[in-house]
Subunit: 423 residues, 2 copies
């Protein structure tokens, strides 16, 4: 079932500075993994089922490294505030609705169905504090055929009563129950420890999450250095930390021996960047969100050149859209304005690097994901770009670039995740 061949115009990163394009080539999938790209199909594979996609483009599925499923319901709304005010005004009231399963059913149904139709094959997702709704979301993600980590959010301070875990004890009890109920339930959907961010969690909750993380050997996700007011707040809340990242590290929730994602890192200073690198923390670069909330622009090209791990994220609903194509576009655009307006030492992102971020960069959080190199999981998106009409012939490389700027889910003709065809 997961042994087959895709034929079409293959486009994939081989490293962060190179996109390989292979016209009318064959991509062999064995046991859900890439097993070679060929211009002529070797005889030994002649018996495998062949999906011939003609002149269409075939690219690796994209990984959205940071997205808030409950916020999808207010995407494209409330773009007139900075982070902390935005959380209190729009986000927390919306997230509180997920205490009701009927609402979660509708809202998560919408989120998952949009994600399924999109170019995203893998995602790392924030849910809310509510266990039943989070489990519902995980079931929906699993049923959609996507691969994901989903986090029940922890928050027990600096948030309204209606969206606060009643005590650290309650929080730990709920989180433990959720982990036990979900860690082995799904094939493609796994739990991830998810303190919202330090201001939302008391110290004892943070330490308790560290203990749970160790007990169940789970990865971690949170937010880091997104906004100046947030960073000032951390200085008050954690006066003994050298920087925001160090504060997570002191709580034992900053990677190292286990996978960890920190969203944003817009304003991470040199020391923080050094610790991110040392701990192997993944940065979820969220360019549209960082524009919409007027946070700024992370020096993502510098992160890449310095060997930090970086992926791309929509950060819905800081970002307005689930499309990772749009995220690639926004990453390039934001990097150009950062270069022009702020710092000419960090060059704009090339198309190659932005595409890499969306595929191999974030995909690495899931292992060998985001390319068609041998051994990579067969995540693929088949793009029909005929509607993006052009008066002349274009190279495959040119078609790929313009599809990022112009294509949407209508252009996705087929989608495979880990060797399984979704549509």
């Amino acid at each position: 079932m997961s042994n087959f061949i895709l034929q079409g115009n293959l486009c994939y990163s081989t490293d962060m500075d190179r996109i390989e394009t292979r016209e009318h080539a064959y991509l062999v999938c064995l046991d859900g993994r890439c097993a070679g790209v060929f211009d002529t199909l070797p005889a030994r594979f002649a018996q495998l089922p062949l999906h011939d996609f003609g002149d269409r483009l075939i690219l690796p599925g994209m990984t959205d490294l940071h997205v808030h499923a409950p916020q999808f319901a207010f995407r494209g709304l409330g773009m007139d505030m900075e982070l902390l005010e935005w959380l209190n005004t729009y986000t927390f009231p919306e997230e509180s609705k997920y205490r009701e399963l009927a609402y979660a059913e509708r809202a998560y149904g919408s989120f998952v169905s949009h994600l399924r139709r999109s170019e995203t094959t893998r995602a790392v997702v924030f849910a809310t504090i509510h266990v039943p709704a989070t489990e519902l979301l995980m079931q929906k993600m699993e049923d959609a055929g996507l691969c994901s980590y989903v986090g029940k959010v922890n928050m027990n301070r600096n948030c309204p009563d209606y969206l606060r875990e009643a005590s650290t004890l309650h929080a730990v009890r709920d989180t433990r129950r959720w982990i036990e109920e979900t860690k082995d339930r799904f094939k493609r959907t796994k739990p991830i420890i998810t303190p919202r961010f330090i201001p939302s969690c008391t110290d004892d909750l943070m330490f308790a999450l560290r203990t749970l993380r160790e007990e169940f050997d789970l990865p971690v996700q949170s937010h880091l250095s997104e906004n100046f007011s947030e960073i000032d707040w951390i200085r008050e809340l954690c006066p003994r930390s050298k920087h925001y990242g160090d504060a997570y590290d002191q709580f034992g929730l900053f990677g190292g021996s286990y996978p960890c994602i920190m969203a944003h890192c817009v304003h991470s200073n040199e020391d923080e960047q050094a610790l991110i690198k040392e701990r192997g923390v993944y940065i979820a670069h969220s360019p549209e969100s960082n524009m919409n909330l007027a946070s700024g622009v992370a020096p993502v090209n510098q992160f890449l050149s310095n060997g930090l791990r970086v992926g791309l994220a929509t950060d819905v609903a800081g970002g307005s859209h689930e499309s990772m194509f749009r995220a690639v576009m926004h990453a390039i655009q934001a990097s150009k304005l950062r270069w022009r307006l702020l710092d000419q030492n960090v060059k704009p992102l090339s198309f190659e690097r932005a595409f890499y971020l969306a595929t191999m960069g974030g995909g690495a959080f899931f292992g060998k994901v985001g390319s068609f190199l041998d051994g990579y999981a067969l995540d693929a998106v088949v793009l029909d770009d005929e509607t993006l009409d052009h008066p002349q012939q274009l190279s495959v490389r040119a078609r790929l670039e313009r599809a990022i700027y112009l294509a949407d889910e209508r252009n996705i003709a087929a989608k495979f995740v880990a060797g399984m065809r979704l549509f």
Copy 2:
């Protein structure tokens, strides 16, 4: 034929800081113009044909104040250079193809058909130097039912031989012929004097264009203060001018007694801004293009507060997409990064102001256009936002905001230009 009534949820600017929303209201159109918005239809209009659009949104059509029709063919490509290199590498080779009418037929056919389906009802367009292709474009714009000014481009220096008017004499002869052939040929499509920009035109050609402009009483469009290298170049080319705008003014091509559009104005200094205001020059703010070509961000909120005339533009193919919805989004996003990264004295654009720019702001170049206030031309776009699903009821104002971020041409259910229904 152009007396009728639209019923639906009306959304329109009344000034730059206010969007009026009227639920399930009636918009009366008499002789192609708005003749009142009513919650209950007055008896005197009861005999007019009624288009009932139910729960859909109805907004004014949008004006794209600056778009290069021939560049539509390479939209979404070649986003890796700044202006002057980009012109030489991508733009000029593409524009030279329009010497062949067969190519122009294909490429302009694509451009016009996309524009017709979009939220744009009016546009101010650059063509190329070629008279036959420019006339073909004008015919297609007319046939599509859009209102536009279209400019045959003038350029006779600092451009490749294959895209250069052979001499000032040739340029003037061609331009005169084109004006004479088109000025009265169309109902909705008019010529506009279009020197590409000062570096492309010798002084004698600029003075000759001034004379033609006066003779035929035409408006003018060109480019101004987009990029630092361009501005440096103007200092060399026009050493006696106080600034780039003053150089146009010395050639007699900077508005005052006639309408004039200058695209970009990203780096206009105070003196230039003062002259723009004094001459009543329209600024075509092109946020996506200014990001893609790493030009910067114009202080458009300050322009508005200071009483300058500003509209919004896609500037395809500096901008990747013909969508004015995207242009509104990009205008807000770019203004936030400008505020965050460069200058906290100019606040980010509000949604109200960005919407105003796309409707009333640029519409004013065409007269009373871009609102549903009495006397405004009936340009309307009917939006079906049902596919932008939401788990709860939303206000009309909220639906409008999210449609800007999320809608595309699929959501446009009907379109009217100057009282004529296009679809």
